[in-house]
Subunit: 238 residues, 2 copies
Amino acid sequence: MSRIGVFGGMGPSATVDFMDKLVQLTPATRDQDHLPVIVASLPHIHDRSRSILGTGPDPLPQLLQGIECLNEAQVGVIAIPCNSSHHWYAQMCERSKAPILHIASSCVAAIPEDGAPVVAVFATRGALASGFYQRALADRGIEHIVPEPGRPQELVDNCIREVKAGQVQAASVSLSQAFAAAQAQGATAVIMGCTEIPIAARSADARGLMLLDSSLELARASVNFALERRWNRPGWDS
Amino acid sequence: MSRIGVFGGMGPSATVDFMDKLVQLTPATRDQDHLPVIVASLPHIHDRSRSILGTGPDPLPQLLQGIECLNEAQVGVIAIPCNSSHHWYAQMCERSKAPILHIASSCVAAIPEDGAPVVAVFATRGALASGFYQRALADRGIEHIVPEPGRPQELVDNCIREVKAGQVQAASVSLSQAFAAAQAQGATAVIMGCTEIPIAARSADARGLMLLDSSLELARASVNFALERRWNRPGWDS
């Protein structure tokens, strides 16, 4: 059971980025220092955001298949580098023997106590409608805003869609504009609450905003979970 | 069975690089256009090269566990982005219901017919001792050399070890020097026959040598295998 399970493919580039973060966050000088990981990258799952908004089919049966696949592969914990799918977090947990780390809990926990930031949540319209980020921020008493539903949220939508289409440069331009709009709206920090956004952020202009990377924080929580249990030290002699 | 199986973790960064190549090679404008992939990243497997050279324990039982894990996850083909492990290719094929693509066959098949290149094989000392690249090149009648076992091969060894330790910049320096040595030895092309090497090659000086990337060619063979079978078009309505 000493393996991290990654339920990915939502989208595939975000899954690669998440796996890279797992590798980078693990202290290692050779292969055998690293953590065992099983990845189910299942990109055909129905669009999560559209389903939440009532304009697309329900992905829950497919999400449960992915959870079962990872449990059958004997994983000891599951990370899902897709924010919108956490709308169905409770149902996935109910089906899983392995605990599932919550991406929004990991990300919101990483916001520093001091400085009283005003946090803008960048996410799909579905994730914003679901409201799990807003609830996690309210639970910590952190002031937060979401992009206005017209042009500002459209810029976030474009950024996400462009990364999924492999147009990372265009996505960075969209994201830079979305950062500017959030700053104009009073934000001092931005939660990148969709795992495509950090890929665009690599070459975007963040204008001095504090950035919180949901994918990075989930990777950190996953690595910490595994290192605490010494999954990097198997029974095998090395 | 419409899933690509990736047996990875040898090493973990090379697996991330390979997954990135699968994503980049797949024609897609949205998540649902991509290919389903199951990855078993099992980094604790004993050092393949040391075992072939008789200085370390046998990884075969662990390799067979990985193959079984992927077969249990119902994959329809297996790719192993680790060259040295192909020393045990026949035994892994015998244990697997799913066909296993051979990384060296994929890579050598990508060498263009014309130009009569002199190909240097950069790989671990174990993979060179195993000889599967030399045999695949001889089968195609392609002239080939291996680095001299002193300083030239040491540069390749250093490059591989440095990537595994996360020291990519140092690895690029080692690799640039290895390219220069291969050119001095008469090479006009280099097979990057260890999946760590392409990571170092991103910022190395290849001195006009034709580079053949074993990881890229295996990814291309995997994507082609899956697209021919329309694994990007599942039964699910989208």
